[in-house]
Symmetry: C2
Subunit: 245 residues, 2 copies
């Protein structure tokens, strides 16, 4: 391994990972925002994605729970409240349930996660464990997919509103809110990583953490695609649209 990269070289390398590995490149994402999913496939996506949303505050609280740096905890805590809500704000998890409600999914069934694909749950728990067990620098770096999130949220909002008559603006508050939350989070994490990843080993760890996280997101779309598109083999016990009718 050569000497360390400059901070700007590291940022460039991280953005390159996003450009080649973020799940906006996945065929299921293209189907979803391009209007090529049927309502049941959108339901399957929203139901599975709930598992991810609901785990985020545990992930972020776990990061804080191993963090000796009070300034970092003070900065990080709003990620928990963004999702759990605080006071009058019902939070992102509740906003996600507005989407699943709007899709006609039973709320208790969604919350139970019983219909989620096992691969979704495994990927989500791998993310929570990664954040608990890796270095703090790697844990922070694994959040950097948010650098690429505003683009995907904008695509989703416009694509889904345009293409699906069962999706209206009032079920999309999760995404409209995230458009302002994610950039703030991503900028902070990027600056932290650039300031703290100094050695080649640390920089490699940061890049690997971001690659890992893109895999967490990508594998969830793989599983959806496999179960609900091609070949369409739904695992035993997972959400089966045929049971709804």
């Amino acid at each position: 391994m050569n000497g360390p990269m400059t901070a700007d070289q590291l940022e460039k390398a991280l953005r390159e990972i996003g450009a080649t590995r973020y799940h906006n490149l996945h065929p299921f994402h293209k189907m979803l925002h391009g209007g090529d999913c049927d309502k049941d496939q959108v339901r399957a996506w929203a139901l599975n994605r709930f598992c991810y949303q609901t785990a985020i505050p545990r992930k972020d609280a776990s990061l804080m729970g191993r963090c000796d740096n009070r300034q970092l905890r003070r900065e990080w805590i709003h990620r928990v409240t963004d999702h759990d809500g605080d006071g009058d704000d019902p939070g992102g998890i509740e906003r996600w349930l507005i989407l699943t409600d709007g899709l006609g999914l039973d709320r208790d069934y969604v919350i139970s996660e019983k219909g989620a694909l096992p691969a979704t749950r495994f990927a989500v728990e791998a993310y929570v464990r990664f954040v608990r067990e890796k270095t703090l620098l790697e844990a922070v770096a694994s959040s950097l997919t948010e650098l690429f999130a505003p683009g995907i949220h904008r695509e989703r909002i416009s694509g889904m509103l345009e293409n699906y008559d069962f999706i209206s603006e009032d079920v999309m508050p999760y995404f409209t809110r995230r458009l302002s939350q994610a950039p703030r989070d991503a900028d902070f994490a990027l600056e932290y990583v650039k300031a703290n990843a100094k050695t080649p080993e640390q920089q490699q760890g940061v890049m690997d953490a971001l690659i890992f996280k893109t895999q967490v997101l990508w594998s969830q779309l793989d599983a959806l695609h496999y179960a609900y598109v091609e070949p369409g083999l739904i695992p035993p016990g997972a959400f089966d649209p045929r049971d709804m009718s």
Copy 2:
């Protein structure tokens, strides 16, 4: 083991643990608030206690990090902000540093924890680990020493103001703030424990968790007493008042 206790019997048993094991019964506490400590002993106490204060947000974030219950996380999160601060509120850790500043201790030295007794650090880390590794019910129960905290804080405020000319009201904001924070926290945790500890095994776990926590607090005063009072054997590397002069 007989059948389960009623919720009220459990509360009585928990209060009995506090009445017999809380660290307000420790000789060092009696010295401290009775005016029998010299300034160096108060310094040693404040310096060591900082390790405990600064670990509390990690402890509470760790609890949230393993908690699937969003309502419980939403209730618990203010324990983190009470200590870390939030927005304009500098938080309890910062308020504790006002006390150590007022005692003439170097702030960087306090924050470094280099002068703390090893026994303090071990007790504090045992508490953080307990909350991470035991059941959620036991983790919540370990916070129940707060039931007994307002009494001790009131004793400390009045005792220390009366007895020490080097302690004035402006260095005591930590305690005055906790007078209102701790009862809210303790009431919530007590109701949670009463509602969720149903079997004899769970109830025993709750009582053991509270006993464990009283030991975490008590052992810190043991270590202070041993090092700075009787026999006054300061471990190598720990805060030594003779180095200050």
